[in-house]
């Protein structure tokens, strides 16, 4: 983690590579400061001028592949579609999802930078852990499978696969995968949608779907999804001709920003 005694050398090398004059001046300033203070030999943190370094504010809680915290589950970010992640950043930023820490962190960021952060996490390829075996009764799991794969024509609930991909690993550009998430998290999100605490850009397609589910359906589909292993190819499917008539809102891409 640490590279003792290399503060100035590392600093200069990186500055010249990045080519930022300001950065270079900053680094020189601090290097000379340290040299005069005879502190050059002290340990310097291993530092990279990278996106991974920039988003440590995110990964501290979310971890490399999602993590349980004292107030809930911080879901996996790696490998999710950039459009989905960008939409979620905007949802927190604009109050459609409410979580004070997220909103506070995002307040000073630009849309272009949020898109870049979304693209960074989307590009990561982190292996998924095996699913934890479900203790739900077989009938419950079967109801969950039915909802996920076939939907329920009687209550007009579309199958999860119709939007989230045939393998449920998501569909580009903005439909997230549903596998590799803990049951409680899926449960909580569907509950939040039913109660209006989680919303998305209009038309907010998941809202009516979640409200159409019975509490038993929510339990069933969460249990089934959480018990499914990831397929060998776990990446989101390419954008495809939609098999569903469900219309989902999404954010316009930031002006002048990067494109997914």
């Amino acid at each position: 983690m640490y590279a003792p005694g290399r503060t100035c050398r590392v600093g200069r090398a990186r500055a010249s590579r990045s080519g930022g004059i300001v950065l270079q001046i900053l680094k020189r300033y601090f290097c000379s400061l340290f040299a005069t203070a005879a502190l050059a030999a002290m340990a310097a943190p291993a530092f990279e001028d990278s996106m991974a370094q920039r988003v440590m504010a995110c990964t501290a809680c979310h971890g490399p592949s999602g993590r349980a915290g004292p107030d809930g589950y911080y879901p996996r970010l790696a490998g999710k579609p950039a459009g989905y992640l960008y939409n979620q950043l905007l949802n927190f930023h604009e109050g459609r999802r409410r979580y004070g820490l997220m909103a506070g962190l995002l307040d000073p960021l630009s849309n272009a930078y949020m898109m870049e952060i979304a693209e960074h996490f989307a590009s990561l390829d982190v292996p998924y852990p095996p699913p934890s075996p479900s203790r739900a009764p077989a009938a419950v799991l079967e109801r969950g499978r039915q909802l996920a794969v076939d939907g329920d024509a009687a209550t007009k609930v579309p199958a999860c696969v119709s939007c989230h991909g045939p393998a449920l690993t998501g569909v580009l550009p903005a439909a997230p995968g549903l596998l590799g998430l803990p049951r409680d998290y899926i449960n909580a999100q569907l509950g939040a949608w039913r109660g209006g605490q989680r919303r998305a850009h209009e038309p907010d397609c998941m809202g009516p779907i979640a409200r159409q589910l019975t509490p038993g359906d929510v339990t069933a589909v969460a249990a089934w999804l959480a018990s499914q292993p990831l397929p060998a190819h776990a990446k989101p499917a390419a954008a495809q001709a939609r098999t569903s008539t469900v219309q989902c809102g999404t954010a316009p891409l930031p002006a002048g920003g990067p494109r997914p």
Partner: protein, 425 residues
């Protein structure tokens, strides 16, 4: 007896007349024709710029709401004020407001219907804005899409909810002003003073407030706690706080334009100001503001750190251990930081402030410097609210404030505990 009653009544009447006089002094009649349908383009562009300088959008836009349509809740010690709709909607916005109505709001703090406005709208600062600038701002606001959003009623406690209380407050603390002019100073300095004291309304946060929410002297910029937000806007007239008298001008400009400079980074409410307002200042205005800020007389005291209070050895040990585990990776084992990414903590003025609110904020909630055009990809600090206890945060900060030559007083657990909360759900 009868005479006494008459004397008392007369006294009350005289006081009422005085309050009324003080509230209306300097006002001229509103006798404008209805606003022109299409204001001149030049005034609109200038108005758009000035509205940026005043960061009107910051308060007059609700999270996720339409720009300038109001509705943002502003918590004050007296209750909650809701910002109003500035879009030109005829019934719910400023559609019927003439340039004179708008000028009176900015300059005298009175609405179109004559009612007194709460100084959460910083008219004690905006009163220094010129009529020409006010007219340009009004012209720009008239070009916005008209949004139909009815203003939310303020929720203030009695007696603060009454116009009478507001009239007394204004009689005590508000007088209409004029653009600051110091003929002994350069035009650049005067322009800077105009921006800082007027539209920039820097004093709204950077000046201390009394128990009635009035800034003692709008212009002293000697630092103040932002009501209800648990952020401290440091003194701009103290070398120990945020004074910039010994900074190079380009560094002051860099801080206002990009949010970062060699000797400091903006966070919290100031990050919002840089993001939404000062990064858009024209180069001459940035220079003028910097010249003025650099010229502010520097008091030697500021908020004196409690340097005599010692950190208990057990607390220091706990703080040092937490620092090694949680902070050293980025801020360095000796608080040296990483230039361009992570601020040094050794010798950092923000670390050594007498008021510890900002430090506690940053450790609990983390944060990014603003993503500005000049510094678009800031590095972030994670929140620690969910992994560190109040005692942990207190020990950690007490350690940081006493290590590597820092000589500020310890932070106690109660202070951290009071600031916790607001992490949402």
């Amino acid at each position: 007896m009868k005479k006494t009653v008459i004397a008392v009544l007369l006294g009350i009447l005289a006081l009422l007349a005085l309050v009324m006089f003080l509230n209306l002094r300097g006002e001229s009649d509103i006798h404008d024709a209805p606003p022109p349908a299409s204001p001149a383009g030049n005034a609109v562009a200038r108005g758009a710029y000035l509205v940026r300088v005043g960061n009107c959008m910051g308060c007059h836009t609700e999270r996720g709401g339409a720009a300038f349509a109001g509705g943002r809740a502003i918590d004050t010690p007296f209750g909650t004020i809701y910002s109003t709709n500035l879009t030109p909607h005829r019934t719910t916005g400023l559609g019927e407001w003439t340039p004179s109505d708008f000028w009176r709001a900015l300059h005298h703090g009175r609405a179109r219907d004559g009612s007194l406005l709460y100084p959460a709208f910083p008219y004690p600062d905006y009163t220094h804005v010129t009529r020409a600038d006010a007219d340009a701002m009004h012209a720009y606001l008239r070009t916005l899409p008209a949004i139909d959003r009815t203003n939310t009623a303020h929720r203030l406690r009695w007696p603060y909810s009454t116009q009478a209380a507001l009239a007394v407050w204004r009689a005590l603390y508000f007088a209409p002003g004029a653009p600051p002019q110091d003929t002994a100073r350069s035009a650049e300095w005067n322009r800077g003073a105009y921006l800082v004291r007027g539209l920039g309304h820097c004093g709204a946060c950077h000046s201390p407030r009394n128990a009635l929410g009035a800034t003692s002297d709008m212009m002293d910029l000697s630092g103040g706690v932002i009501p209800m937000q648990n952020w401290y806007a440091p003194s701009l007239s103290s070398p120990a706080e945020a004074g910039v008298a010994d900074w190079e001008l380009p560094q002051i400009e860099a801080l206002l334009r990009t949010g970062v400079a060699v000797r400091g980074t903006v966070l919290g409410p100031m990050a919002e100001v840089v993001l939404q307002s000062t990064q858009y200042l024209s180069p001459p205005d940035l220079r003028a503001m910097s010249v003025f800020l650099k010229s502010l007389p520097q008091a030697s005291t500021g908020t004196a750190p409690a340097a005599t209070a010692r950190v208990a050895p057990a607390v220091a040990e706990r703080g040092a251990r937490l620092y090694g585990e949680r902070c050293a990776q980025c801020h360095g084992e000796r608080g040296q930081g990483i230039a361009g990414a992570y601020p040094a903590l050794a010798g950092n003025r923000a670390v050594n402030l007498g008021v510890t609110a900002n430090l506690v904020q940053v450790v609990l909630n983390g944060g990014f410097a603003p993503a500005t055009q000049g510094h678009p990809r800031p590095f972030g600090m994670p929140p620690f609210a969910l992994v560190l206890s109040d005692a942990d945060v207190a020990a950690l900060l007490s350690y940081v404030r006493s290590a590597w030559g820092n000589q500020a007083g310890p932070v106690d657990e109660l202070t951290v505990s009071r600031q916790r909360g607001g992490t949402g759900s």
